[in-house]
């Protein structure tokens, strides 16, 4: 297994991932390592396998073949593909954070309750969860909006709540699927700044699917997929330290 410059193994190491839907090959043998504190953008045309790769790495869907090894606090050398649905659900809520394009916030809950919910499903008492959720929202510039319902927040504010929810559990890896896709460019830039600060800025890893080159350029590394294969894998201008794979 490849190690980074500090001698640590990758937080996620994927080897030979293969996934097909009928006759369509979504992943045709993908190898990919993600290091601690790294931000990785996955790009590629529609149908290239970006989201399938993200789902496989996050344990949302199982690959047909291949291995995914996880090295995070509490999950040392865990083979994700061997876990059953219940164990993978637990893994996702404990070890990972997610920010999707649609936010996936619960409309009945307030902003603070949406964030606290991530802690409560991990067994944190409600009062403590609400305190930590309030802090997370304040750090992302949402102080004073804790009691607002999701429908009362703008698109950018909703994504901040989603980022707070992904961050509040202390997840080692955050997966983001087109997190700025539904936002205007100014708001998108703000949300991206916050997402990077909340993840890489805090020593966590970020795996982001995006169509937007300018968004991808903000990451340390860009992987481009085509027809289920990685065609390029390179450091971005802001992190010219060579290949990470």
């Amino acid at each position: 297994m490849l190690e980074n410059s500090l001698g640590l193994p990758p937080v996620i190491a994927a080897h030979g991932l293969f996934r097909s839907f009928g006759t369509t090959v979504a992943l045709g043998g993908v190898d990919l390592n993600i290091q601690l504190g790294q931000s990785l953008a996955i790009m590629g045309p529609s149908g290239s396998g970006k989201s399938t790769l993200l789902h496989a790495l996050a344990g949302i869907e199982l690959p047909d073949a291949g291995r995914i090894t996880l090295n995070l606090p509490g999950y040392n050398n865990v083979q994700v593909e061997t876990l059953n649905d219940k164990a993978r659900t637990k893994l996702r809520r404990e070890a990972f954070g997610f920010v999707f394009q649609s936010g996936l916030l619960i409309p009945e809950l307030t902003a603070i309750e949406n964030v606290a919910m991530a802690l409560m499903i991990n067994g944190v008492q409600r009062a403590a969860a609400m305190d930590r959720a309030a802090q997370a929202l304040a750090q992302l510039g949402l102080a004073g909006m804790e009691q607002r319902r999701i429908g009362q927040l703008s698109g950018g504010q909703q994504q901040r709540v989603a980022i707070a929810r992904a961050k509040v559990t202390g997840a080692g890896v955050v997966f983001a699927d087109e997190p700025t896709g539904a936002l205007d460019s100014t708001t998108g830039t703000e949300v991206l700044d916050i997402l990077l600060e909340a993840t890489v800025g805090a020593g966590k890893s970020l795996v982001m699917v995006t169509h937007d080159r300018s968004v991808a350029e903000r990451c340390d590394r860009i992987v481009t997929l085509r027809d289920g294969h990685i065609v390029t894998d390179s450091a971005t201008a802001q992190r010219q330290t060579g290949s990470w794979s």
């Binding site: 809520r93 404990e94 997610f98 649609s102 996936l104 619960i106 409309p107 809950l109 309750e113 429908g151």
Partner: protein
């Protein structure tokens, strides 16, 4: 392409819509079958001797009136689900330039078609279950073939169900006609005012006085019946007024006490729309009312039952009233259980994307299902207990005497209510997101 053809194109049975379509047709079938069985039961009383008819027919009419609420709630739930399955297609048609009238016509044709299919299935269900129902005894003998209604009554019942579906569909589509985007904008639903509670307490106080002094207020038998039935009708109306307020209060209390994710989510789901939460379980409230008032009445009638001095038909009255109460309870709970299963299934299908997303985020289906179940059962228990208490107050002396003199009758009625609530609880497992959404995939 004419409207009829368009309605068929977007509404025809398909694999993608099979679950909601099956649910909708089943619901209409249930409404029609229940309606026909109840009407058949009432119709069978016309074969009694004239003096007995004078007592039994008003009681049957009263039971029918009581069952209107759960039947309408069930029919409306089916109609809403039917409309929801077509919302997206109709919205697209509106964007493509269809007029509001065309959209309404398509919705009406589809609702009528689905309701007709369901109602005809209901007729078959009625005929299939009639041999079983005909074994129920009134006046010491099975109902027998008197359960079978004349064809014109069956046709009228089918027509009524179809009309109910059409009216509900049109009402549900008003927004779509107004705005082509038909975007659901979540707004804060106003919390029902405490004034409702105040009005309810006042009306109950007045009713309590009237019902306990009915002999002084009305002199002849017919007026007494009118006062009693009118009083109970007003009582039911006013208790439905206070229902949403009561559910909101209980929801708030649950919100403050919530410690687990499912408790928090359930409380918020209730508070999202207390009136809708109440509507789903208003049939349970009705059942509680029937249980307390009817159960007390049956118990008191049973005090002197079977005496040789009574005329022939009177000897069976108390047992028949108890049978009627239990039947009304059973039918009310079947309606509530069916409408709860449909409403919850519609809600699960509506929220499929959110449930699926939350599962990806690491929330187990167990938590989501528990929240959904609590969001229904909390209002159901509130309605059941709240209405039982209020009804007991209305007929306090009678209820008290009934407990003392016929505890077995009272226990039987309580057991029926508990069984009914269990039926509702079991019925909503149909809408389990894991089962419904994974099956859909």
């Amino acid at each position: 392409m004419n409207t009829l053809h368009l309605a068929w194109m977007i509404g025809r049975p398909s694999a993608a819509r099979s679950t909601p379509q099956l649910l909708t047709v089943s619901a209409y079938a249930m409404v029609s079958a229940v309606l026909l069985i109840v009407l058949g039961g009432a119709y069978s009383f016309t074969s009694f001797e004239p003096e007995a008819q004078g007592m039994y027919l008003p009681l049957a009419a009263f039971a029918l009136v009581l069952l209107i609420v759960p039947l309408v709630v069930l029919g409306a739930a089916a109609a809403r689900l039917s409309a929801r399955t077509q919302d997206r297609a109709l919205s697209s048609l509106r964007l493509l330039g269809s007029t509001g009238t065309q959209i309404s016509q398509i919705a009406m044709i589809q609702a009528a078609g689905t309701a007709l299919a369901g109602a005809l299935a209901g007729v078959v269900l009625y005929l299939a279950t009639s041999p079983l129902v005909s074994m129920i005894q009134f006046q010491g003998a099975p109902i027998g073939s008197a359960i079978y209604l004349p064809v014109w009554v069956v046709a009228l019942a089918v027509l009524t169900v179809v009309l109910l579906a059409v009216v509900s569909a049109v009402a549900g589509l008003r927004k779509l006609v107004i705005t082509p985007l038909a975007v659901a904008t979540r707004q804060n639903v106003p919390v029902p005012s405490w004034i409702r509670a105040l009005v309810t307490v006042g009306v109950i106080a007045v009713l309590y006085f009237v019902l306990n002094n009915v002999a002084a207020i009305a002199q002849d038998f017919v007026t007494i019946i009118v006062v009693i039935v009118g009083g109970f009708g007003l009582g039911l109306l006013v208790l439905n007024l206070v229902g949403p307020w009561l559910v909101a209060r209980v929801g708030n209390s649950k919100l403050n006490k919530a410690q687990t994710p499912d408790q928090l989510l359930a409380a918020r789901m209730i508070l999202e729309n207390p009136a809708q939460s109440w509507r789903q379980v208003s049939g349970v409230a009705m059942a509680s009312f029937v249980a307390v008032v009817g159960g007390s009445g049956a118990a008191l009638m049973g005090m002197g039952a079977g005496e040789a001095s009574e005329p022939g038909w009177m000897r069976y009255l108390s047992a028949d009233v108890l049978t009627g109460v239990l039947l009304t309870l059973a039918i009310a709970f079947i309606c509530v259980a069916a409408s709860a299963a449909i409403t919850q299934s519609a809600s699960t299908l509506d929220r499929a994307e959110l449930y699926d997303g939350l599962h990806r985020l690491g929330m187990s289906y167990k938590v989501m299902n528990s929240a959904r179940t609590k969001s229904l059962m909390i209002p159901a228990l509130t309605a059941s207990i709240g209405f039982a208490i209020a009804s007991a107050i209305l007929v306090l002396p009678l209820a008290g005497i009934a407990v003392l003199v016929k505890p077995t009758t009272v226990l039987m009625v309580i057991a029926a209510v508990i069984l009914g609530l269990l039926l509702v609880r079991v019925s909503i497992t149909v809408a389990n997101p894991q089962r419904l959404l994974v099956a859909k995939d």
